[in-house]
């Protein structure tokens, strides 16, 4: 809802919400679960709460954790041609850039594919578990959530998944490629990461961190 300028200025700062993309000020009106609040000027989604979102997101984050650890350790792909075999895990693929200064690229790739998504899942759990249990937020929860949001564009697990598909199509005529268990784990992982990011309402988490329901 939007009022004319004089009325807006009378409200306290706690009753206002400002769109981060276009700086338009609105009066805060928290929508019900399933509804969305969008900016009147640029239509960016500001608040989008859902019922039991906290519990669902925690479940998804735990699943992501297990899948990442599994996908990183089990064999990912195996190639077989003319008697020569080679099995690789995801870590092998990330560390494929070796030799001289390319080692930095290895570390960066491993970070983008595995460590940053892992870190984000852990941070999400750290922040959400106390909130869902109606306890006081964990120490540093605010910094943790800020870090998790800052790292969001740098989590590239799903891009790696598509990259695998491209690479496989490239060599599938040359040799037989079999999928290890990590391959399927990674596929599910990618879907879950995308679901978690779209399901969580950031504003609701910030609001809960600011006004915790203790007791």
């Amino acid at each position: 809802m939007k009022d004319a300028a004089p009325t807006l200025a009378d409200l306290s700062l706690d009753d206002l919400i400002v769109c981060p993309t276009c700086d338009a000020v609105h009066r805060l009106h928290k929508p019900r679960a399933g509804e969305r609040a969008i900016c009147g000027t640029c239509h960016k989604v500001l608040i989008a709460p859902r019922t039991n979102a906290g519990l669902h997101i925690i479940a998804v984050a735990v699943a992501i954790l297990i899948l990442i650890i599994g996908a990183a350790t089990f064999p990912f792909l195996e190639i077989d041609t003319a008697g020569n075999k080679n099995a690789v895990s995801i870590l092998d693929a990330a560390l494929a850039f070796s030799g001289g200064f390319m080692i930095f690229l290895s570390l960066a790739t491993a970070a983008l594919i595995i460590f940053i998504p892992l870190l984000r899942a852990l941070l999400t759990l750290y922040v959400l578990v106390p909130l869902v249990l109606d306890r006081a937020p964990a120490r540093h929860a605010i910094r943790a959530f800020r870090l998790s949001e800052a790292l969001r564009p740098w989590s590239m697990a799903e891009i790696f998944a598509i990259g695998c598909a491209v690479a496989l199509v490239k060599i599938t005529d040359l040799a037989t490629v079999t999928f290890g268990p990590a391959f399927w784990m990674f596929g599910i992982l990618v879907v879950l990461v995308i679901a978690k990011d779209n399901f969580m309402c950031k504003w609701s988490v910030w609001n809960a961190l600011e006004h915790p329901k203790t007791g």
Binding site: A5, V25, I79, A93, A96, A108, R146, V169, W206, E210
Partner: protein, 215 residues
């Protein structure tokens, strides 16, 4: 939901003497340094943000040139060594009949990065001088750049998977070329450039010009 707050009667936070946190949308009085809710640095309008955008943009462009000149992939089959650049490799694939993969590689490694350079330059220039194109269109360009920018990394991941997988002793082995690190740097710097861009400047420029450019 009623569609309030058309661009003509948008009240910007800066006009009201407030500064908004771009992480958690909380409003605070102008002049506050740190968001009281999430601790993120509060900046109403950063005069240097455009400088940062251009600086990262230039470095990204500088890295993109060697990325296309040096070889990206080094294929070693039984008797010959084959070094191919990004574009050269895609052309080869097309000649072999793999049109789909060649298109994906050309799209993700050439069309998207060049499109990003152009789009960020367009947005940065549009702040300083009036250009054709409404605010909504420029907002759309910005959102597309932010979202699609990460996908250029797909080529790096394809190289990583191929290099790790195809290590079949003397029969065939694929290794990454020097171009991969330049290309990764180019993608990272263009991502940083897009992140440094403050979308609120787009809406400010329109308000200054009298708010007559919509659609």
């Amino acid at each position: 939901m009623e569609r309030a707050g058309t661009p003509q009667n948008r009240i910007s936070a800066r006009e009201m003497g407030i500064v908004a946190c771009t992480r958690c949308t909380k409003a605070a009085p102008l002049g506050t340094d740190i968001c009281p809710r999430c601790g993120h640095a509060l900046v109403s309008r950063d005069a240097l943000s455009l400088q940062r955008v251009w600086a990262f943009w230039i470095v990204g462009l500088m890295c993109y040139i060697p990325a296309n000149i040096y070889p990206m992939l080094r294929t070693q089959t039984l008797f010959q060594v084959d070094e191919s650049t990004i574009i050269g490799g895609a052309v080869e694939l097309a000649q072999y009949g793999n049109w789909g993969i060649a298109f994906i590689i050309l799209f993700a490694s050439v069309a998207i990065p060049i499109g990003k350079f152009w789009a960020i330059a367009y947005l940065a220039l549009s702040i300083k001088r009036p250009v054709e194109g409404s605010n909504h269109r420029r907002m759309l360009v910005f959102e597309v750049v932010e979202y699609i920018g990460r996908w250029s990394m797909i080529d790096i991941f394809v190289v990583a998977i191929l290099s790790a997988l195809v290590q079949l002793k003397t029969l065939a082995s694929i290794n990454p070329g020097v171009a991969s690190i330049f290309f990764a740097l180019s993608v990272i710097f263009t991502m940083l450039s897009a992140q440094a861009f403050d979308p609120r400047l787009i809406w400010d420029a329109q308000a200054k010009s009298g708010g007559t450019r919509t659609t």
